[in-house]
Amino acid sequence: MYVLELEKPVAALRSKIEELRALMDAGNLESGSEIAKLEAKAKQLEEEIFKNLDNWDKTQLARHPFRPCTLDFVQHCTKDFQELHGDRHFRDDPSIVGGFCRIDGTRFMLIGHQRGRTTTENVHRNFGMPHPEGYRKALRLMKLAEKFGVPILTLIDTKGAYPGLGAEERGQSEAIAVNLREMAGLTVPVICVVIGEGGSGGALALGVGNRVLMLEHSIYSVISPEGCASILFGDSSRAQEAARSLKYVAKDLLKLKVIDGFVPEPVGGAHAKPEEALDSLKKAVLKHLGQLEKLSAEQLIQGRYEKFRQMGVFAESV
C-alpha cells in the first residue's frame, strides 16, 4: 500500500471501517450504523481534502506510482494497439512508447512517456526519462501518422529528458528542438495531454499540439520544484515553496493560456479510480478530435502556430 501524506486521514478512517466490517462478519457487531456513519465521514473528509489541494499535494498525486500511465490508457481506452519500435538509427527507447490504435473506432497514433511501477520496470524504462532516440522515435511515428492522415494523441508523463553522458553525446538538445519545430508543421490533428508530471523540455518535446490538456492533478513545469529550489534557494528540500512559486498546476496554467483545458479527476485522484479517470480522458480526447477533424491541414498548422505564438506575458511601450 502506498499512502500519501494527504491521504492519511481518510486512510485511517477506512482501516477503521475495515476493522468494524471484520467484526460484523465474525458476528461480533450487531448494527452496521457505525460503519455507515464512518463511511459518510470518510467520503466527506476526502471531498474536502480534494477540494483544497495545494501545489505540493498535486505534485505528489502527479507522481503517484499507481497513477494511470500511457500503457494503462492503451489497455483501457484503445483497441488494436500495435506498438511500433525504434528510431531507425540507434535503438528503441522504452521510456517512450507509441503505435497505431483505435479509440472507439477512430484511428489514432498514440505516443506517450512510459515510466515503471516496479524497480525492474523503472530500470528498463529509465524512470520515464527519454534519451534522444526516444524523441526521434516519437517524431518518426508522428510523420508516419501524418503520411496516412491519422490523428496524433500524445500522453505526457516524465520528470524530464535524461541528463546523462550518452544523451548529450547523441544530441538530446537537437532531438527535442527538432520535435518542437516539426510538430509545428504536422498536417494532422495533434492532441497532447499531460497525465502525470510534465517536466520541462523533455515533456514539451511531445507537447506541440492543436489542443494541450492536462489531467486535473497533473503538473507541467519549466523545472522540477526540487531543481528550482536547489538553484534559487540553494536547498532542494525547499521544493514545497518552489512548487507554490512555479504555479504549475492546471488551474494556473489555464489562466496563463498555456493549456486549453483540464480533465477532472475523480475524488481521491486518478490513481484511486483509474478507470473513471481514463474514461473521462478518452471522452475529452474524442470531443476535441471532433472539433479538429473539421479543419484543413493549413488550418491545423495555422491554428497551432497562433496558439503558441500568443504565449507569453510582457509589456510593450510604444
Partner: protein
C-alpha cells in the same frame, strides 16, 4: 582604433562599455598571460597568447559581426512583467531591476537588422550578463519577431545564443517560448530562408533544446560550453566525473551536433560566405 568604436551610436548609448575600462591590464584565465585591454579589444577579446575567448556583451558581439554603421535595433521597448508574482529569496521584479541597473539593458536579448559584408540580415543576440541570458516571455517574443521580420523582409536570420536556458521565474510561460520560437523557425524553413545559429559560451537548457540547435548551419564558437543539461546536473545524476572537454564546442563537432567550430575572428567572414552561397542571387 578599437574594433568596438565602430559600433552604431544608438547601441553605444544603450550599453556603455564597462566590462574592461580602457588602458587596463587583464590576466588571461587560461594561460595567465597579462594582456593590455586595448590590444585585447582589437583582437575581439581573444587572448593574443593562447586564443582563449573572453565572453562578449551583445554590443561587442554585434560590432564583431555587422558592417560599420549598418545596425538598426528592432523591437526595443518590450519589457518583462511578473505574471507569476514569483518570489524566491528575492522577488523576480527586484531581480529584473538589479539586472537592468547592472547591464543598462532592457532584457537578455538585443535584436535588429544589419549588414554582414553587405548582405542584409536579421539578428538576435543574447546578453548573458542579464540574468544569465535566461529566456522568458520577452526573449521568446523578440526572437519570434526577428524571425517574422526576416520572413516579411526575406532576410536570413542569425541568432547568437549565450544562455543558461529558460527563465524559471516565468514558469511554464518560459518553457513555451521554446515551442513558439521553434514554430516560427518552421515557417522560416518553409520560406527557404537561411538560419545560422551561433552558439557561444554557454548555451544550455531550453535555449539549446530549441532554436539554438535548429540552424541550417550550426556554429559553435571555440571553447563554448554547449549542452542540454548542465555539467553539474549530469555529474549528480550519473555519480561520476565527466570526461575532459565534455560538452565543449569541439565535443559537439566530434559528435555531429554542429557543422563548424570557429575562432571568433573567423566568424564574420565564414558566415557571410555561407549566406552568399545559400541565398539565391538577385
Amino acid at each position: 582604433m578599437s574594433w568596438f568604436k565602430r559600433i552604431a551610436p544608438k547601441l553605444l548609448s544603450t550599453e556603455p562599455k564597462k566590462n574592461i575600462p580602457a588602458g587596463i591590464w587583464i590576466k588571461c584565465p587560461e594561460c595567465g598571460e597579462t594582456l593590455y585591454s586595448k590590444d585585447l579589444d582589437k583582437n575581439l577579446k581573444v587572448c593574443l597568447n593562447c586564443s582563449y575567448h573572453f565572453r562578449l556583451t551583445a554590443e561587442e558581439r554585434i560590432a564583431s559581426l555587422v558592417d560599420d554603421g549598418t545596425w538598426t535595433e528592432l523591437f526595443s521597448g518590450i519589457l518583462p512583467k511578473d505574471p507569476l508574482q514569483f518570489t524566491d529569496s528575492k522577488k523576480y521584479k527586484d531581480r529584473l531591476k538589479a539586472a537592468t541597473t547592472k547591464t543598462k539593458l532592457e532584457e537578455a536579448i538585443t535584436c535588429g537588422e544589419g549588414r554582414m559584408m553587405g548582405q542584409r540580415v536579421a539578428m538576435s543576440v543574447f546578453n548573458f550578463r542579464f540574468m544569465g541570458g535566461s529566456m522568458g516571455s520577452v526573449v521568446g517574443e523578440k526572437i519570434t519577431r526577428t524571425i517574422e521580420y526576416a520572413l516579411a523582409e526575406k532576410l536570413p536570420v542569425i541568432i547568437v545564443s549565450s544562455s543558461g536556458g529558460a527563465r524559471m521565474q516565468e514558469g511554464a510561460l518560459s518553457l513555451m517560448q521554446m515551442a513558439k520560437t521553434s514554430a516560427a523557425l518552421y515557417q522560416l524553413a518553409q520560406a527557404k530562408l537561411p538560419y545560422v545559429s551561433l552558439m557561444t559560451d554557454p548555451t544550455t537548457g531550453g535555449v539549446s533544446a530549441s532554436f539554438a540547435m535548429l540552424g541550417d548551419i550550426n556554429i559553435a564558437e571555440k571553447g563554448a560550453l554547449i549542452g542540454f543539461a548542465g555539467p553539474r546536473v549530469i555529474q549528480q545524476t550519473i555519480g561520476q566525473q565527466l570526461p575532459a572537454g565534455f560538452q565543449r564546442a569541439e565535443f559537439l563537432l566530434e559528435h555531429g551536433a554542429v557543422d563548424l567550430v570557429l575562432d571568433r575572428r573567423e566568424l564574420k567572414g565564414q558566415i557571410a560566405n555561407l549566406l552568399g552561397i545559400m541565398l539565391p542571387r538577385g
